[in-house]
Symmetry: C2
Subunit: 273 residues, 2 copies
């Protein structure tokens, strides 16, 4: 999928919502545990109920790896289900990978080719040659951590390096990498005031924004500074949507929460664009 | 396994060699492709031939994820085989994971509990709360990237932050984290001259050292500055050992290469300790 197609989907659906599929068997409705593949059954129901309200789904690989082979199988089934039934959806493997060049190539192959995701999240610490192997894939997107939404972001990311914060160095530096047009960035919603500075560095790049909802970020503040002419934002919500109810009505409850965010986004889009 | 037990193994075997099990189906002997699980068949043969010459094995997860479910199964079988047959071996999941707290906990559970590795590599970019969930596991070890062996290490790791290089900030900062005694660090062998400075910051921590061999690092130089009183080094070699031959004799050829390194290490240990 191209970023232009992503923007078209956003304008069509009046939503730039991404739903995080972070499935914890302790938190899903207990009747699903009788299913052969409870994680996939949960994801399928959530996707079927919410796909018109969002433009992207983001399974975090940790939640699948934690269940070993079974979990990996659930992840495969989830991305296959999305690609077969909702090809207009942008898919994100939230994997935060990154390694030396030949190894990053293996990860890129795993997520882009074998699993068929549109994008994967990566960590910047190992620099250019750990990220460029991901960028080499046409119409695939590499979403690099810049400023994350957790407390630990202040340990290194916001510290000064050569006159500016590390996360700004990461943004600046990455713009010179080969195929950098395939880069997007993770920017946490908990620091909405930083979005103005970030837009000075990457005016048009898509930003994947976690931290709205469960982690305390505010949608209005993020959009005020973060929206670009091509929208350029994917707002992620995971627990606030998928665990809206633990009863049989969990999928409808999730759709209700997604609808609230979609409607808020519709108002914002109408006012801004 | 405790670090004391690891040092005991090193002194017993006169080796601080770690063998990287980065299995690429294009590079293994072609007769193995007829096996039901070629990756596991390759690993089993390499392990059986080399386990007396090394103290650790390090599968890089990228090489297994690249083969999807089958690859994950091969990884499971490899760690089970090691734990059942060679419990004295220190096992490292080279995964370079790291995420917000609750998600890092899922990764820690996956690698330490479900798969049963002794240690896992993690990335420092997201800071304290992305690493502490790993550190909470008793007698398990978290090997954090400090200074990597690739060219991209110079993009951020060696740049100055608050008066010292980022990788030194990472080392310093992490010492204050809860259960930091469970930390080890990745330090690339391609920059042997940095080991003296690193030992000033973490005098006794184990350092996992990639980059000897294929990436050009020199064992003598690393040991000159990097050895601690408890040895404190695990020198990794992957391609230089496991791909020593593509013929039927591949396991013996790997043992031959491992033996060369082990003998070099034996001389160094005798001189230094």
């Amino acid at each position: 999928m191209t970023t232009q197609q992503l923007t078209e989907q956003i304008l069509k659906k009046k939503s730039f919502l991404c739903i995080g599929l972070d499935v914890d068997l302790h938190k899903i409705p207990q009747h699903l545990l009788e299913e052969e593949d409870p994680i996939f059954a949960f994801n399928k129901a959530i996707i079927d109920a919410t796909h018109q309200l969002c433009v992207a789904y983001k399974p975090n690989t940790a939640f699948y790896e934690a269940y070993g082979l079974k979990g990996w199988k659930s992840l495969e089934k989830t991305i296959q289900y999305l690609n077969q039934n909702y090809p207009e959806i942008f898919t994100i493997a939230d994997a935060k990978r990154g390694d030396i060049g030949n190894t990053s190539s293996m990860y890129a192959k795993a997520f882009f080719e074998d699993l068929g995701f549109d994008s994967v999240t990566v960590a910047p610490y190992m620099g250019k040659d750990s990220v460029e192997p991901f960028l080499a894939f046409k119409n695939k997107h590499t979403i690099m951590l810049a400023l994350t939404s957790n407390e630990g972001a202040f340990d290194f990311q916001t510290k000064m390096m050569d006159g500016k914060e590390l996360y700004k160095q990461v943004l600046e530096t990455s713009k010179a990498w080969r195929n950098s047009e395939n880069l997007m960035y993770v920017v946490g919603a908990t620091k909405a005031e930083y979005f103005a500075d970030i837009r000075n560095i990457v005016p048009n790049s898509f930003l994947l924004v976690p931290g709205v909802g469960a982690q305390g970020g505010n949608l209005q503040d993020v959009c005020k500074y973060g929206l670009s002419t091509n929208v350029g934002l994917l707002i992620n919500s995971s627990r606030g949507i998928i665990y809206a109810s633990k009863q049989e009505d969990f999928a409808q409850a999730a759709a209700g929460k997604a609808k609230e965010l979609q409607q808020e986004m519709e108002v914002i889009l109408r006012a801004k664009l």
